[in-house]
Symmetry: C2
Subunit: 422 residues, 2 copies
Amino acid sequence: MQEVDIAFFIESLPSDQALTIFRMLDKDIAAEVFANLPTDRMQQLITDISDDELRSIMSDLMVDDAVDMLEEMPSNVVKRVLKHTGVQDRQLINQFLRYPEFSAGSIMTAEFIELKRQMSVGEAIGHIRAVGEDKETVYTCYVTGQDRTLEGVITVKTLLLASDEQKISDLMERDIISVRTNDDQEFVADIFSRYDLLAIPVVDQENRLVGIITVDDVLDVIEEENTEDFEKMSAMTPSDKPYLKTGIFELAKNRIGWLLVLMVSGMITGEILGYYEAAFAVLPILVTFIPMLTDTGGNAGSQSSTLVIRGMAVNEITTKNLLTVLWKEIRVSLIVGFILSAVNFIRLMISEDGDWMLALTVSLALYATVVLAKTIGGALPIIAKKCKLDPALMAAPLITTIVDACSLIIYFSIAVSILNIG
Amino acid sequence: MQEVDIAFFIESLPSDQALTIFRMLDKDIAAEVFANLPTDRMQQLITDISDDELRSIMSDLMVDDAVDMLEEMPSNVVKRVLKHTGVQDRQLINQFLRYPEFSAGSIMTAEFIELKRQMSVGEAIGHIRAVGEDKETVYTCYVTGQDRTLEGVITVKTLLLASDEQKISDLMERDIISVRTNDDQEFVADIFSRYDLLAIPVVDQENRLVGIITVDDVLDVIEEENTEDFEKMSAMTPSDKPYLKTGIFELAKNRIGWLLVLMVSGMITGEILGYYEAAFAVLPILVTFIPMLTDTGGNAGSQSSTLVIRGMAVNEITTKNLLTVLWKEIRVSLIVGFILSAVNFIRLMISEDGDWMLALTVSLALYATVVLAKTIGGALPIIAKKCKLDPALMAAPLITTIVDACSLIIYFSIAVSILNIG
């Protein structure tokens, strides 16, 4: 059985049985299984096991897993854990815990292989064999000079394909792709995808190697960042806790903020509608087209904003593309808007017994709404980015609210002038 | 300069200069740079270069890159390319091109290292040194028996940490995580994240090893799959072409289908509204609260559906959790709905000069709308999954349309009974 699967199994057990099974595990895999448990189960186990057992786990746990765990624990648990961690590891963990959340520093690990420039390939392979067991990866090794300055990177593939006598300094890659401890984890993930890396070195301000990030951690980061975007784009405060483990008050807290803001915006739209009370008092049927108009506007706008936000997230679209995007969205909206209005016109000519003035009013308003919605939806995320705001906020909910207000003004303006009412 | 960066640079040049620069590249990196170019630029280059140059690129290109490229090319280009590809590679490429799009077979590569059970560690390392140069990865090696049946997996780390005389059969992992050629690429990506893999073997129905998939390709799959979800959740037909390279007619085509469906649904909502014409003819102010009500309902519902859809995408929520999710969403909606209605009530008492019957009508309708929206938003994606439909379709646009209709019925029913109109 894989460690991950054992962790899944233990997770499904009641806590006393979980403890029994966990104690039966081989020492070699106990730390790995532990690292794969959910936070609440980790905390439970830490509370239940003896000091000796805790010490043994902490000595086998990778620094990045230890840091991830401690970030989620209450302070009394953190204290007990650190008390039973070796001096060196404790110092490292404390240092890592100080890096800002979501930074490269907070996800890196310290278990990497360091080589020296003057080593031969044979010596390097010997060194890897001696220390490789406890390292997060052995496949990318880091060549450091004085003060741990990062001088080069060399892969095990290069080492294996070279002859034993060759010098590391002649083989290592000097054009190093690295990140800084304070870089955002999203930036780190972008670099990984761009250069197809397995691991990346993390350096401090003085270019000293302090850790590495491996691709398995980047997979988690990508999942987190995408979840965050989905949450933001649906008007929620992002949370890194899984849904089923989040309490209802926390869920409510993450949702109420934007709902309140958007509700107030919806009230403003209502005020606008109030100005046209005379119009729909005369012709109440006008009201029945409001949902179709505002929904279509919202959908058309959020299609555009989603594509642009996503394009920016995967670095395809930049703020320089504003005019290109606008021009594209305007042309697409002219096509899409034409089809929608045509269908709508025909449908109204049938259902409203050939009242073509009414059909024209609604269809024209629909056309203008779609064009406006796609223009706003395409432009706002890019403008947000230019203003250093998160483009993901300019998604469906906000776009819908803005487009609602605009489309109602357009609709009733057209109605008042064409139908001669109000 | 990294190959990826050279490709970006070439992409930015006019086509004649691009050709010149490409020809100046070292033969070793030309194929790698080529694989990183966008499809239109690849096609341009293939048209412009000589048969010899094409032959040289094809001999260095990995099979998965060649397959990715040919999938996008017009048939005359494919013919010319295959004509200048070695017999063995051509057969492989043809075989790979037959796997369904988005299957494991379509993204795997054939350049992996095969070892035999009876080899010693020393022999295995010698073999890796001999053939490693042209392999997609050397770090995970595959132990095969007769007919290429997959018998075990061994990593270079294990090899390095063992002594030269040990036998592969004693060291290899027999509990192999593998996928089938027809498995969906999304499933492959899930396995990678779950087990933190660097590469996975792909086997056919008879457990014969036909290829491997490496983590760098999985990063691309994850990006694609997330983009697809974003597109589906914003009512678009997913497309794997980048936004800036998609023509306006294709963009329009991807968007018009759902817009039409949702527009027609919006018309049905309009019909419902028509039933209450008498009510808002008597009290036109009722109309001004429609945008606030429907928008808040739509937002509340899509918050829930987004969390559930995402939870299912990352395998946190399964169809078994239907009742848990429902119970959670109902409780959250009771909290969130209460706050929203309270704010709304107070606001209306102020703006409508203490008309508490009206304030009560709107606030009650709002409360009921939020509770209903979150219940529908939480349940529909799971029910869709149970019916073998894609949960991502039950996102904001559809939820909004459904909730609109419901909330208007609730609103006017309450209005008619409390305000005694209609």
